[in-house]
């Protein structure tokens, strides 16, 4: 008998879990949360996730490589500050370019330290996070940066005009990036190589895949996406606040995990992470629409994350326990038990 993926329920369950979660939250909120089900509300939700969704793209790839990037939060803010801080000198095209390149540079540094110097990514990115935090304050002199020229307003307005219902340029940018990277991961050799590198670096190396290049690439992608997220976000709000990316880190980590990207690497996908963020955001919005406070938000976010982690851990636990069980023995067992029961009945009868 051919053993097929189908018999592995757990894997299947994992595959669709995030979409199920999405449907459940969407359904529940649409039915019960006041004013939830409206094009307008969905648009605000999509606007709200635009930044974190963009950030999650790169972060997911890093996690697929079995690494962690704690610096994304500060990269967002840093890129934001550069975009508006340098605008007077370079104009928007220039400042945006510098911001994104700056992001790429940070990612490159992270990548080098992880891949070449072989320092644990948790540590490396914790370090760069601290450095960037200082750099941001130093650069901004402690005050947030804004550009309130008509040009800036024009750009901001443009990014928010709705091309179609639910679709503003800002959302479109995120959408394009998500689709592009997801496609790259699924349909190109390079994309699959990220998974192999994350799954087992040795395998990748033996297959002649330049693991270091992919690790560095992942970190660069992560920082660049974070930077883009920051740039777009400040272009919309015409102001770079020093706390811009503060919340993003924990948010994106949780979402990525909930989305089903394993921290051990080799598993997951960008789309799932984004769906997870969307689900969380709908949950949050719903909770607010119910007139409940942020503590409820935090509490539920924690519960969902905890549930997912626990579920996955328990699943693997069970899976390993029963690995190699012989179906024919289980059948035999069933028959034997039934015979035993018959015996029992018989003896009672006598």
């Amino acid at each position: 008998m051919r053993r097929s993926g189908k018999i592995n329920f757990l894997a299947q369950g994992d595959k669709y879990r995030i979409y199920i979660l999405f449907v459940v939250i969407f359904g529940f909120m649409s039915i019960f949360a006041p004013k939830f089900f409206s094009v307008f509300n969905f648009t605000t939700i999509l606007n709200a996730i635009a930044m974190n969704a963009t950030v999650a793209i790169g972060f997911t790839v890093v996690m697929i490589c079995g690494q962690l990037d704690l610096s994304i939060g500060t990269v967002i803010t840093f890129a934001g500050c550069l975009t508006l801080g340098l605008q007077p000198l370079l104009g928007f095209p220039g400042s945006i370019a510098v911001a994104v390149l700056g992001g790429a540079l940070v990612g490159f540094l992270n990548g080098i330290l992880v891949a070449k110097a072989k320092i644990n990514s948790f540590i490396v990115t914790l370090g760069t996070m601290t450095i960037l935090q200082g750099a941001i304050y130093q650069y901004s002199g402690g005050n947030s940066i804004s550009v309130t020229t008509d040009e800036a307003f024009a750009i901001s307005d443009f990014l928010q005009v709705s091309l179609l219902p639910l679709l503003t340029p800002r959302i479109l940018i995120t959408l394009i990036l998500v689709v592009a990277v997801e496609f790259m991961l699924r349909r190109t050799r390079a994309g699959r190589n990220f998974y192999i590198v994350g799954g087992n670096r040795n395998t990748a190396w033996l297959a002649g895949i330049n693991t270091d290049r992919y690790l560095i690439g992942a970190f660069v992608l992560s920082s660049v996406m974070a930077a883009i997220g920051g740039v777009v976000s400040v272009l919309v709000s015409t102001a770079a606040t020093l706390k811009l990316g503060e919340i993003s880190l924990m948010y994106v980590i949780s979402a990525t995990i909930i989305g089903g990207t394993a921290m051990s690497g080799g598993k997951g996908g960008v789309l799932r992470s984004v769906i997870a963020i969307l689900s969380l955001e709908m949950l949050y919005t719903g909770i607010i629409l119910f007139g409940l406070g942020n503590e409820v938000k935090i509490f539920f976010a924690g519960l969902i994350l905890a549930y997912v982690v626990l579920y996955e851990a328990y699943a693997t636990y069970r899976h390993e326990k029963n690995l190699g069980q012989r179906p024919e023995l289980m059948k035999e067992l069933a028959t034997r038990l039934s015979t035993k029961e018959k015996k029992l009945l018989g003896s009672r009868g006598a």
């Binding site: 606007n47 706390k243 938000k297």
Partner: protein, 399 residues
């Protein structure tokens, strides 16, 4: 909140029934009359202070220098755009008052984030809103600007009679205000003094005059420093700054610095820094101040903190360890810890920052606007410095 709505409705109906022929406008007139009768000036906050104490500030608004940033940081006018923001705005299509009375109006009250201060602030606002039987809805984005923007969108969608907003960020406020303005919804900003440009789109601003308060505090502080160091040629002081990213960061250090540059030249600024990574962590502040004491020794005569709870406590831990009781410490805000320290004669003075009053004044401003009163673009909360003499009067603390 629902109850309020009903009462409001009832009154409106009553008015309607009273004058059947003239109909709506009459009802509105009646509503306006009823609204104008309501007196909120006697309301009290939890610390038994007047909720809406009239401002005692009678300073003249100076003329804006050509380019404030050209001036040195020690020049008060360098901070013009922060300190005097709002006094000379160019209002851009600000809606006219409907003159229909505050009763039954719906206001959405968006704060910056969850904090005991916020809870008190909302409470104060609620008191006034109740007095005017307004439909009052408070939202908190929990310090996340992305969420605040989202809340603003949703508030706009609800088409309230007015939006009251504490912007999360001075500069970020501009775009937020502009957005609300374009949606043709009256906007009132309060508490966090935003970038001047933001005020172009709002009816006005109410809140604590951080700079003003600290100029006041600075003078009292300077007098005390002089008293303790008679005839000293130079008196060294240090500033524990607020978290970066907002006017308090500047008002609570450069406010006094620029004030004293004129008022008490002998007082020299040794250092000004914000404890990192945790700005409002007592332990971090203690470490910072301990090191300052090591560095400056007896030259350090005074410390000005931007927070009178964690920061102040950290400072006094450091002072006690060094056995320094000669250093005059002043701070912002009247948290319980701060007032206790004043009572124990440790803190010399703190600014009175009424959280309830802050919320209350903003709603009062809204009410007055509905009632068609003539309003200054900017209204400051009453200024006051709490010292050992009067600290007792401010218990129990609001939060």
């Amino acid at each position: 909140m629902k109850k309020l709505a009903f009462i409001a409705l009832a009154i409106a109906l009553a008015a309607f029934v009273a004058v059947p022929l003239i109909g709506q406008t009459a009802a509105q007139k009646a509503n306006l009359a009823a609204s104008l009768k309501i007196d909120t000036s006697k309301l009290l906050s939890a610390d038994n202070q007047l909720l809406l104490a009239p401002s005692t500030d009678n300073r003249k608004v100076p003329k804006r220098p050509a380019d404030p940033n050209k001036l040195p940081e020690t020049d008060p006018l360098h901070w013009y755009d922060m300190e005097w923001a709002g006094w000379n705005v160019k209002p851009t299509n600000i809606p006219k008052s409907p003159m229909t009375g505050a009763i039954g109006k719906k206001v959405i009250f968006i704060v910056h984030g969850d904090h005991p201060w916020t809870t008190a602030c909302i409470l104060g606002a609620q008191k006034v809103a109740d007095a005017y039987q307004m439909e009052f809805k408070a939202l908190s984005p929990n310090w996340d600007k992305v969420v605040q923007d989202q809340m603003i969108d949703q508030a706009i969608a609800e088409k309230p009679d007015m939006i009251l907003l504490i912007p999360l960020d001075a500069k970020g406020a501009v775009q937020q205000a502009r957005k609300i303005n374009q949606a043709k919804i009256p906007l009132h900003l309060f508490n966090m003094l935003p970038d001047a440009a933001a005020l172009n789109y709002s009816l006005g601003w109410t809140g604590p005059d951080d700079f003003g308060q600290f100029r006041l505090l600075a003078r009292a502080w300077a007098d005390e420093l002089r008293k303790r160091n008679p005839g000293a040629k130079s008196i060294g002081v240090a500033y524990v700054q607020h978290a970066p990213g907002g006017s308090p960061f500047f008002a609570r250090s450069f406010g006094p610095i620029s004030e004293l540059a004129g008022y008490a030249k002998e007082i020299k600024t040794l250092v000004a820094a914000s404890p990192t990574p945790a700005t409002f962590d007592a332990n971090t502040t203690m470490q910072l101040v301990s090191d300052w004491i090591t560095k400056y020794g007896d030259d350090l005569k005074g410390i000005c903190a931007s927070d009178d709870s964690a920061q102040a406590l950290g400072i006094f831990e450091a002072l006690e360890k060094a056995g320094r009781n000669d250093i005059v410490v002043v701070a912002a805000g009247n948290s319980k810890q701060g007032m206790d320290l004043v009572k124990d004669g440790k803190l010399f003075g703190i600014t009175y920052q009424t959280a309830e009053g802050d919320g209350a004044l903003s709603v009062q401003y809204a009410a007055d606007w509905f009632n068609g009163k003539k309003l200054a673009v900017r209204q400051n909360l009453a200024q006051h410095i709490i010292t050992a003499e009067d600290v007792e009067g401010f218990y129990p603390p609001q939060w």
